[in-house]
């Protein structure tokens, strides 16, 4: 128990003093995960909306099944696949991205995309048809009516984006493989926890764990807020 208490005490000191190394890791983690979330959402929300709103979307069920399966993609598999693509002998090796932050962003974008797309689809699909009819009957063009539906699903979509962020911030497999856990360059919270635990430096690992828990808690509070707002309408998926 002393080991844990001592670890927690030192961890609190590291957080309180805003230890430079700790802050560097936390900031890089946020930069990687938020960038990936931005890319995943920029692609995922329109794809989810298109599947839901386009009357004759080709292979709708197959696409949804693929997206739903991809939601549970093991990060290490994504990491391995991207490693093979980005390694010097791989087809994208010429870009020199392996063991860089952009490679980690790409990996996490791949993980975020199906979550955002699938949950956006569910949120948009849950909007009652009367919203489209009301918009059309008030003079909306088809695209404007589609936008009205997406707007109605906003709380569900935001919840989906937050859920994706929750997964990205806790993800370790993919970033470890394509990032390489290089100090000051590609070391993020999760990969640093693995390293520090291996080294037996529990104070740094616990400090990072506390920050990670703080991020998770914030995401969950935000999720609760959005699901509460959305439930008022009676058609939120969460």
């Amino acid at each position: 128990m002393d080991l844990i208490f001592d670890g927690v005490r030192k961890a609190c000191l590291l957080i309180y003093t805003l230890d430079a190394e700790l802050m560097g890791i936390v900031l890089l983690s946020l930069k990687v995960s938020l960038s990936a979330l931005l890319i995943g959402s920029a692609l995922g929300v329109p794809v989810g909306a298109l599947i839901s709103l386009k009357k004759r979307f080709p292979l709708r069920h197959l696409t949804l099944n693929i997206l739903n399966t991809a939601m549970g993609l093991p990060p290490v598999v994504v990491g391995l696949f991207l490693y093979l693509m980005l390694s010097r002998r791989g087809p994208l090796g010429f870009m020199g991205l392996l063991y860089t932050a952009p490679a980690m962003i790409i990996a996490q974008s791949v993980l975020a995309f199906p979550i955002v797309a699938s949950l956006s689809y569910a949120a948009i699909n849950g909007v009652p048809p009367i919203i489209r009819q009301a918009a059309l009957s008030l003079g909306a063009a088809p695209f404007q009516a589609a936008m009205a539906i997406v707007k109605e699903a906003r709380y569900g979509i935001i919840s989906g984006v937050m859920a994706a962020f929750g997964r990205l911030s806790a993800e370790v497999g993919a970033v470890l493989i394509v990032g390489g856990n290089i100090a000051g360059r590609t070391r993020v919270i999760t990969s640093a926890i693995v390293l520090e635990t291996d080294k037996g430096d529990f104070s740094e690992a616990i400090a990072l764990g506390i920050v990670l828990l703080g991020i998770s808690l914030s995401v969950n509070i935000a999720l609760y807020f959005f699901s509460k707002r959305g439930r008022a309408t009676g058609y939120l998926w969460v």
Binding site: Q133, A134, A135, S137, L138, G139, T233
Partner: protein, 227 residues
């Protein structure tokens, strides 16, 4: 100039069920029509076909202005509106709901404010403009839907059972609003209802939709010039 609606040989079926079967009528601008009929007689279907929310199996819906048939395009559709029985409330404020149609038409912000305030005042919701529309009662929701439809000054206004889900006070309020706009709006107002008294009081002509066809009733409506 006002718009009149000509419905000719309209047919619509859902599977085996024939809802409209050669329905024909001409709704003139500036008049109020009440369409009555049993549940499932096709009143809502007729309204949805007239507002292009659905396509007929056969037959035509034409909008005429000065004897000319207008082309079915967005400009025409923006002169017609339908208040659905369940309204279709957007999850935002009452103000934003009422302003929706005006914003689609790129009306200036100042004019939007002015028109929304006037419409809200007309339906008695001026003090609830900042409330979330999903928290309104069913009567208030209907009145908000009416304001949302009226604010765009439609040339043809369809009201699908506007008093069906509201209490007596709200029903009276909606009736008063329709009586109030019948002269100011100068539109063709076509409403459906099960309430014969309400139909007689607010309309110039009462129609019955039965066996998929519209027939005119000669009733003693206070506004009927034929009697």
């Amino acid at each position: 100039m006002g718009l009149s609606v000509s419905v000719s040989e309209l047919k619509k079926s859902y599977g085996e069920s024939v809802v409209l079967d050669g329905c024909a009528y001409r709704f003139e601008s500036g008049s109020v029509y009440a369409v009555m009929g049993q549940n499932g007689s096709g009143k809502s279907t007729l309204f949805r076909l007239c507002t292009f929310l659905e396509q007929p199996d056969s037959g035509r819906v034409d909008f005429l202005e000065g004897g000319t048939v207008l082309e079915n395009n967005l400009a025409l559709r923006r002169r017609i509106t339908l208040l659905l029985p369940a309204v279709g409330v957007f999850n935002t404020t009452v103000y934003e709901n009422i302003a929706y149609g005006l914003k689609l038409r790129k009306v200036s912000r100042h004019e939007v404010e002015e028109k929304v305030l006037n419409a809200a005042e007309m339906v008695g919701l001026k003090d609830k403009l900042r409330r979330r529309a999903v928290t309104l009662s069913s009567g208030e929701t209907q009145r908000m839907g009416l304001a949302r439809a009226l604010v765009i000054s439609p040339s043809v206004l369809f009201l699908d059972e506007p008093t069906a889900a509201v209490d007596a006070n709200n029903s009276k309020a909606i009736e008063d609003i329709i009586q109030g706009i019948r002269h100011t709006l100068k539109a063709a107002i076509i409403l459906s209802t099960h309430d014969a008294g309400f139909a007689r009081r607010v309309s110039d002509k009462v129609l019955t939709l039965m066996d998929g066809r519209l027939t005119e009733q000669l009733t003693d409506t206070p506004n009927n010039p034929d009697i």
